[in-house]
Symmetry: C2
Subunit: 444 residues, 2 copies
């Protein structure tokens, strides 16, 4: 690794660009300014675009007619580092140890976006220009929901016109295995509140004659699944697109043992999920109904003999193609209303929805991405979906009308969002190669 | 009402004798000293007995062979007054309004125990002595579980020998209706913790492949009852003594509409309970399984897409004759273990138990109590049980070997434990008469 690359990496990592904490607003601005200077330095026209939140860094080469236009997207903001006491070295004082760089943001997303920047730098140095028209968009609010990115995209929709988006902010299936994520689950949320008596009651004085809101809530939530883990809401699976044969086949052949990985990573006593699907299929291609939180009555030490007036639960549903978030919420409402036990009332509040994403890894762009990955890593490409949601990918599709290639460089042991986040220098190096290769492939 | 009686009452109420808060320890001592002085003043030999907690006030007349020995029990400690903002007058600055005295403790238990004290005072003033040998025991820890009372009873078991205990710390079925409570439900408790993954998981990344601890807990808790509100734990009802015909008959004839009262008091949208029993039967003579608290995952504002590592619930079971707390806990363990959903583990921690109480209202002492009540109130006596638990009553039986007569003076609208606690002066007056009558009846 060239010393000047390492210097850039460490400088980038030293900015505590924690977007969720107002105390760091100035640090985010400093980090963005450093990016602007760096990108101008490698020959890109770069501006800092202010938003109601943290600014967006937007860099371009000189666009020429007849070339493909590619947007590379990343973010310079990071998660808070706490709990600080679990870090073996200070989170914003990067150290290189046995080939790994430890710092907050080392992987997510500074390491990954820097690989792209350095790839662009090398290509321009070697060839005087890039083989494509480039938009490089690096935002400062990804870790807090990218609230101002849609506004930026809409405002500059015409200038930002492009053929495809490249994002390196997802995972690799295993060390050294190039990975193309072509699908993401969506999500929709609701909160429910079950109310019995108008105040908390003494469970001795009143117990037995009126419904207990916590008991009613538990009975209601127990109807969400059947005993085998399948969601029991009528119509829930109606719009689910079955897995393609090639997907089941490809996932079966992945160089990982999904069952073992998930057991080890979670520490759960056993796997549990919908019958008829493998662990990876359950995670990547099947929808879920999860209770994310529940609360009611006395939760302190010891006993309080109370019948709680109300109890609440927070639910999210992970969505897969071709489920519609609004329709799923309607079905959920219907199910909850139908199964509400007697003696209580219920209020449901809907939360935010984000759609699923699915693109074709065998499209022309998908094949280009696969070739680039294979060339950079010298290994067969793993084609996967992911269980989480990345709302911006749908925004690129909805606002700009383009597909996104998710070429992740994060490994499960990189500890993104956790103490001792790290990034292997080999991934930074291969990421630089990948950037050069993907632009070359897309230019074909 | 004599002015000196009112003065005593207001003085008693002005002590903020909040036993649960260490900041008031000195105030409890001052209150106890005032009682000692008052009781000495009416001619009783009185001592303050220290305990590891707040002291016990113990007063006696000169005992004479051949007379019945009666213990009157009460407490001088009170519940905290908060939320303070809901009081219409300061909780420790009593006011008399339309025949009602408003203050914390006005009913529970200062009003009720003062009725006994003033009854004793009148009898001694009129007759020079009481018709029975008396122990008056007024403790300072009833509102925090009477933790040191058993020790006091055991230490002074021989001196405290008596034939029967009289307690006025229960309720009247309706205004002006003399009420003898001859049964109480017991209680036993457990807490359970269900654990899935070893840490909270991202519900997108892991949802669908491992069990959700909150979902598993809800499914488990939903097995506690059948759809009609009957406890579904195998063997739960095996030892339940059926209601006597005379009890069902007597309760049906009580001058209250149990359904309407409970609906009004609780504000519940509907009654709900075990089929085949009236509301009063459900409350007084049927056992329950109640979830007093539940918690797991994210309970803050908005959404957090988390699969909680663990979730917990607190359960209490109300017990009736002849259920045994330990046996019920064993049956509950068995049920919970049998119904635990897959993919999670469970820990159960047992809590404290208190036995049910049942005495015969038609025994000689019971008949004496009925005569006294009828004489004081000039109305037929309501024979009832209560849904709550009063552990000391079982301790009187276990340690002293005697039965307890529960002659309550509290009305449902007296707001014991709530803001604007109050006591009608007519109940103080009738309580004085009742005290004189019960001692006379017991002396026969």
């Amino acid at each position: 690794m060239r010393q000047d690359y390492l210097d850039d990496y460490f400088t980038f990592l030293r900015f505590p660009s924690i977007s969720t904490d107002d105390a760091y607003t100035e640090k985010l601005a400093e980090c963005a300014h450093w990016l602007v200077k760096k990108l101008k330095g490698i020959g890109l026209t770069t501006e800092l675009v202010s938003t109601p939140g943290h600014p967006v860094v937007w860099a371009r080469n000189k666009h020429q007619p007849g070339r493909k236009t590619v947007m590379i997207y990343g973010h310079y903001d990071v998660q808070p580092p706490d709990p600080l006491e679990l870090w073996e070295s200070p989170p914003f004082d990067p150290v290189l140890k046995n080939g790994y760089v430890f710092a907050r943001g080392a992987t997510d997303n500074k390491g990954q976006i820097l690989a792209h920047i350095l790839g662009l730098q090398e290509t321009i140095a070697e060839q005087g220009d890039l083989p494509v028209n480039l938009h490089l968009v690096i935002e400062g609010e990804e870790e807090i929901g990218s609230g101002n990115l849609p506004g930026f995209l809409e405002k500059h929709r015409d200038s930002l016109g492009c053929d495809v988006v490249v994002v390196s902010d997802t995972g690799m299936i295993a060390r050294g295995v190039p990975t193309l994520s072509y699908g993401l689950r969506g999500v929709t949320a609701l909160e429910l509140k079950v109310t019995g008596a108008k105040m908390d009651l003494h469970s001795g004085v009143f117990g037995g004659a009126v419904a207990n809101s916590v008991t009613a809530l538990a009975r209601l939530l127990a109807t969400l699944h059947d005993a085998n883990g399948r969601v029991a809401i009528e119509g829930f699976y109606d719009d689910v697109k079955p897995l393609e044969d090639w997907e089941r086949e490809a996932w079966r052949k992945l160089p990982i043992d999904g069952d073992k990985e998930i057991l080890t990573e979670t520490g759960s006593p056993a796997l549990f999920g919908e019958e008829g699907y493998s662990t990876l299929e359950r995670l990547w291609a099947r929808p879920t109904a999860e209770i994310n939180g529940i609360g009611g009555g006395y939760q302190g030490k010891g006993t309080k003999t109370v019948i709680a007036s109300h109890a609440m639960a927070k639910l999210t549903f992970r969505l897969v193609p071709n489920q519609d978030g609004d329709k799923i919420l309607q079905l959920a409402h219907k199910h909850l209303e139908k199964n509400l036990p007697p003696g209580v009332t219920m209020e449901i509040t809907d939360g935010h929805s984000g759609p699923w994403y699915l693109t074709d890894p065998h499209s022309a762009f998908g094949e280009a991405a696969q070739s680039a990955l294979k060339g950079a890593f010298k290994k067969d490409v793993a084609l996967i979906r992911e269980g989480g949601s990345i709302p911006i990918v749908s925004q690129f599709r909805d606002i700009l009308g383009v597909e996104t290639l998710l070429l992740g460089l994060a490994q499960a042991d990189c500890r993104a969002h956790s103490p001792n986040e790290n990034f292997p220098l080999e991934n930074l190096e291969v990421g630089i190669k990948m950037n050069k290769a993907i632009l070359a492939e897309l230019a074909r």
